[in-house]
Symmetry: C2
Subunit: 281 residues, 2 copies
């Protein structure tokens, strides 16, 4: 259909999100399985990584398609929790948070390894401290093996990503400021009735939404590029660990947000379903 | 009460907003009245301006008080329309948009005056073009009389305000990135169950909300300072025109957002009340 009605678009946006979250939960299980099975076949792991990234690309494509007319929904989606919306940057996570996640995983694993070494002052402990782990089957463990070269590349990517984020933030700021200018501000001033319809205002607001849709698409592109580049810097096992951590963080934040909201409602008798949507084992 | 329950806080936040919007509608009428009555008594106008600014200060104070524990609500409030939330910067309008509004008003009035001059090549037209209007009782007209000195000061304020906005945006970006770090990201990674409760995560999320509350308070302070400084640069009649334009823009945007949402729901049989909340004549 060339021109789906607006109600269809709103429904499509929401369905698209729920479908995406279901897929996230499924892929989380797949990634975990691949690691705990101790799959050493790099080709298989690589295939899984490509699938995961391809799915993100498809999702971004759908969002771009669906936001073209009604982009406002994406900047504080009703399907998100308050907590998630307070964390939102251009309709999603900050691309730079992917990199922070790499640092967090790397730092924690190095700490863990050091703690193990100090606890067991024997050869096993030493070999662990030197990264000579026998099977790499502990979740996340691969991240402590980041080489100085990898860390350098990750840092370069961080700086570049923050710059790109700032560019998009600036564009959005200008668009936001523009709404306090002609024709919107003036129409508001000269109308006798508040909210009186006005063709020029409607067209200016449509244009604002279209411009914000363009920025949303750019932001999704930046998220995709950053994700792809992080994965390219990592080894395949590290990439699987990293993608798993990302999916778990996203799904957990949604659930923690729900729990916090539930707790607030509970105390005034509102209730709701405290059971998680995506609580995979 | 030292520790009102969270449900009370949520209700208070919403009530506080509705009370504020009612007050906006009332003050809009008062400001309009003061202008159309052609009140030349600067003291009376000045008193009205002080009242309006004082009320904004009170509102900011209440928000600061009420956001201390649950600030997430303010970053994409459920009481706003999607359109308003897509325009939000730190729980409100961009302080720099106050300045854009001054420029918009000034530019449109100058255009109007020039058009009048070109239309009536007589003495009346000439005197209007020279700003020698007899009564200044046309809404907004005072804004075309901004002196070069006033415009210079407004421009200085614009630059300073954008710098302050950027500082706060940067602080919020850092806080957002931090949630992809320890302890939140790691707890998410090592939990077997998605969304499993965790004292350390809860405390980190509480800290995040408290930090965002601090930024919200800073942003409200910046909005207040900018508003106050714009008013100080303007003459009293200009200030009344400007405050009236600001209130009309805020109230209109809320109504236009409602109308756009209604139109989307209408097409799928949802309905709702298309009548405005604050449609003052």
């Amino acid at each position: 259909m060339e021109n789906p009605s607006s109600s269809n678009i709103e429904k499509l946006q929401q369905d698209c999100y729920h479908e995406w979250m279901r897929l996230q939960a499924k892929r989380m299980t797949d990634l975990k399985q691949a690691l705990t099975n101790g799959e050493k076949n790099d080709d298989e792991l690589r295939e899984l990584i490509e699938t995961v990234i391809g799915e993100f690309k498809d999702y971004a494509g759908k969002r771009s398609e669906q936001s073209r007319r009604y982009s406002s929904n994406y900047f504080a989606p009703t399907w998100n929790t308050c907590l998630e919306n307070a964390l939102l940057w251009m309709g999603g996570c900050r691309p730079s948070s992917f990199i922070r996640l790499v640092y967090a995983m790397c730092g924690s694993q190095t700490e863990l390894r050091l703690a193990n070494f100090l606890r067991n002052d024997n050869l096993d402990g030493l070999s662990m401290a030197l990264g000579e782990t026998p099977g790499l089957d502990e979740a996340g463990e691969s991240m402590s093996d980041l080489t100085p070269e990898q860390l350098y590349k990750i840092n370069e990517l961080h700086l570049k990503t923050v710059q790109e984020e700032n560019k998009l933030s600036k564009q959005a700021a200008t668009l936001q400021e523009d709404t306090a200018d002609m024709p919107i501000a003036l129409a508001a001033f000269y109308k006798e009735e508040i909210g009186e319809a006005d063709v020029e205002v409607e067209s200016a607001l449509d244009k604002y939404e279209a411009n914000m849709a363009r920025i949303l698409t750019e932001a999704d592109k930046l998220r995709l590029t950053t994700l792809t580049q992080v994965v390219e810097i990592l080894t395949v096992v590290q990439a699987v660990d990293f993608l798993l951590a990302g999916k778990k963080l996203h799904l957990s934040m949604h659930e923690w947000g729900r729990l916090r909201e539930h707790r607030r409602l509970e105390s005034c008798g509102g209730g709701g379903d405290p059971g998680g949507e995506f609580s995979g084992g």
